[in-house]
């Protein structure tokens, strides 16, 4: 009995310490961010099936802890670069939900005026430097933003999110080597969700850990983190950012995770082995994180309050975006050039 109590006491002391290094405020932020992503994406899913969102849409349900952990660790003037699966990473920079849903619906209120769509979400004012829909391209581009930070000694970092499948394309290799030799303040984050579209990553990759097993090819440390644990992600992010800001160069981080939905709206994900999804649903980052907050002594009412306010925010954004008209047709002809126009002749 005594022994058990001691263990328990030790455990909660450890929990308290764990809570300390991150702090309640940051933890609540991360919980909110994860919920925002979850609810906004589920809403996008629903709107898709109401035919209010066209084209395509790639959800990151189940992967929320990664964007949230990094989001909480970033400074407002840091840069983020992400992919077509970029709702999460754009949202954690504090962008407007209405602007985002509006863009998915092709409305005038869309953050890109209806010109970009789901795969190109961008909010430069918030440091969300774009979503890139061609695999690999944004890795060297993120290195370029980091080069600017280094050149101007601004102390900014650039973070680049991408998937496991992306580690097999040439641009990955070029960007990693380039960032390493120039010691650029860029953090490459591989979200290993086990699949490259419909193909298991292990079928098409020569190593077990697509990113971590390649770090040494660029003189970098091999780093793997539990991508379903926002705290673990946050800690890794802080370490990598500190290194980058101190001139220590890039990091390559592999976060293990899983997407609950298919690759894109068209995909029922029938290629998954039986039971795989179910096993991962047990590791769903959001209920786990909720439980941790409670365990750490956060009041249920505070947690509930966050949950309600997120749902309310998503509801309001949905209504606002629905109410927005389609973009005026002359939007099609603006913004090719810096002068605002699109003319190629005089």
């Amino acid at each position: 009995m005594v022994k058990r109590a001691q263990t328990k006491k030790k455990a909660s002391a450890k929990q308290a310490r764990l809570n300390d290094d991150i702090g309640e405020e940051t933890r609540l932020t991360m919980y909110r961010l994860q919920l925002e992503i979850r609810h906004l994406e589920q809403r996008a899913h629903d709107l898709f099936f109401q035919n209010l969102i066209k084209g395509t849409s790639h959800l990151a349900l189940g992967q929320e802890a990664i964007a949230s952990g990094f989001g909480a660790a970033l400074r407002p003037n840091d840069y983020t670069f992400c992919t077509y699966r970029g709702h999460a990473h754009t949202l954690v920079r504090g962008t407007s939900m209405t602007g985002m849903l509006g863009e998915l619906m092709g409305k005038e209120c869309g953050m890109l005026q209806g010109k970009g769509g789901s795969m190109h979400l961008t909010d430069v004012e918030k440091g969300a430097m774009g979503s890139y829909a061609i695999i690999g391209a944004h890795l060297p581009i993120a290195a370029g933003a980091a080069w600017q930070a280094q050149y101007n000694k601004t102390g900014q970092v650039a973070v680049c999110f991408f998937g496991d499948g992306t580690t097999n394309i040439g641009a990955f290799h070029e960007a990693l080597n380039f960032a390493a030799i120039w010691k650029l303040p860029v953090v490459f984050v591989c979200e290993n969700n086990l699949y490259m579209e419909y193909t298991p990553i292990s079928d098409v990759t020569a190593v077990e850990h697509p990113a971590a097993d390649r770090a040494s090819a660029y003189g970098l440390d091999s780093i793997i983190v539990d991508g379903n644990d926002a705290d673990a992600v946050y800690r890794i992010a802080v370490t990598a950012f500190d290194k980058a800001r101190e001139g220590g160069g890039p990091s390559l981080i592999e976060a293990k995770t899983y997407r609950h939905s298919g690759h894109s709206r068209a995909d029922p994900a029938s290629y998954r082995p039986k039971g795989e999804l179910e096993a991962w649903l047990k590791k769903d980052p959001i209920p786990m994180y909720r439980q941790r907050l409670i365990d750490f002594g956060v009041k249920e009412s505070i947690v509930k309050n966050i949950e309600d306010s997120v749902i309310q925010a998503v509801d309001e954004a949905t209504e606002a975006a629905k109410a927005s008209p389609p973009p005026p047709v002359d939007y099609a002809f603006t913004d090719v050039w810096a002068d605002g126009g699109s003319s190629w002749r005089n």
Binding site: K54, G55, T56, G106, K107, G110, G114, K115, G116, G117, S118, M119, H120, Y132, A133, I134, I135, G136, G165, T166, N168, I169, G170, A171, M196, E197, Y198, T199, D203, V204, T205, A266, Y271, P326, P327, V329, Y331, A332, F333, V336, S342, W344
Partner: protein, 325 residues
């Protein structure tokens, strides 16, 4: 004859050729077990197995490089580049290697391969997944360029492309995948390099390709009904080789020509054909040569904006109504 979709015709052509020739192999991303992201290759992996129908990593340079190396040494690979926009990540292999090797080596190297790719807009996918890049390919000496508009042409021309001893880029218009048409049963092989006159008229000749073909046909019907303008519609089908015989003779018949291009304006295929007409049929023309194209702007994703940019039936109708009097 059987009614097939454009996407089903793709798989049917590949299956037909794989059955008759063991040296035909097929590789690409998610083309095997998943049957392709556009479901255009369903059933091939089941029929031909792991060795002939192979999923690849996201490594377009490796996909086309491997196809090239295999073609040079005796196989007849078909490689899928999922969206034609992605040709940009492996453009060197296409334009500097595949297209030039036979020539540079004084004819020593063979290159019997096909690159299939989903091309064009209309699906609200945005500027990086909607481009019409048939002019990129036409621009490069050494590649044949085919873009079918119907399921029958998909089957016949893809089979011909696979049998062709030269490299062919085969552009499938992604908005056409769900369209249906009658397709000849059994072995069906068409000829690459022949345009097709789909409608005969007296007043104006419309030259179109891929998705622009059904739109040109519809516009031609409306022009007849609403304006009494009688239009010839030519489906170009193949940009290289280019069937200038058919094109020029159809232009001369009406003395008026309009091209309808999905590629953005500058250096589109219509520019090339216009310049050939302006050089070779100048004295046969009764009207300036008119080009209808997607404007020279990246493609927007919102419905209203994308629809405005890609030539529509009503834009074709309006332009021709205005120009032909």
């Amino acid at each position: 004859m059987a009614e097939l979709t454009y996407r089903e015709a793709v798989a049917e052509a590949i299956a037909q050729e794989m059955r008759r020739d063991d040296s035909v192999v097929f590789l690409g991303e998610d083309i095997a077990k998943a049957g392709g992201v556009f479901k255009s290759t369903v059933g091939l992996w089941e029929e031909f197995g792991d060795l002939r129908v192979r999923d690849t990593p996201i490594s377009e340079q490796a996909i086309l490089g491997a196809a090239m190396g295999a073609a040079m040494t005796g196989l007849k690979p078909i490689a899928e580049i999922m969206f034609s926009d992605f040709l940009a990540v492996c453009w060197d292999i296409v334009c500097n290697q595949i297209a030039k090797s036979r020539y540079m080596t004084g004819g020593q190297v063979d290159m019997p391969l096909v690159i299939r790719t989903a091309n064009g807009g209309g699906a609200r996918f945005g500027a990086q997944h909607s481009q019409s890049v048939e002019n990129w390919a036409m621009m490069i000496p050494g590649i044949k360029v085919v873009a079918p508009s119907s399921p029958a042409d998909v089957k016949g021309l893809l089979a011909a492309a696979i049998r062709d001893p030269d490299p062919v880029i085969f552009f499938e218009q992604k908005s056409l995948y769900a369209t249906k048409g009658m397709v000849p049963d059994g072995e069906h092989v068409d000829e690459i390099g022949k345009a097709k006159v789909l409608r005969n008229g007296d007043d104006v000749t419309i030259l179109a390709l891929a998705l622009m073909v059904p739109r040109a046909l519809e516009a031609a019907e409306r022009l007849q009904l609403e304006r009494g303008i009688s239009a010839t519609v030519v489906d170009i089908r193949s940009l290289v080789p280019l069937d200038t015989k058919t094109i020029l003779s159809e232009v001369i018949k009406t003395g008026r020509v309009v091209t309808v291009e999905e590629n953005p304006r500058l250096c589109g295929w219509g520019a090339e054909i216009s310049s050939i007409i302006a050089e070779e049929c100048f004295y046969d023309l009764d009207m300036p040569i008119v080009r209808i194209t997607t404007p020279h702007i990246p493609l927007a994703s919102a419905d209203e904006l994308e629809d405005l940019m890609i030539p529509s039936v009503s834009r074709i109708f309006d332009t021709i109504s205005r120009e032909v009097d």
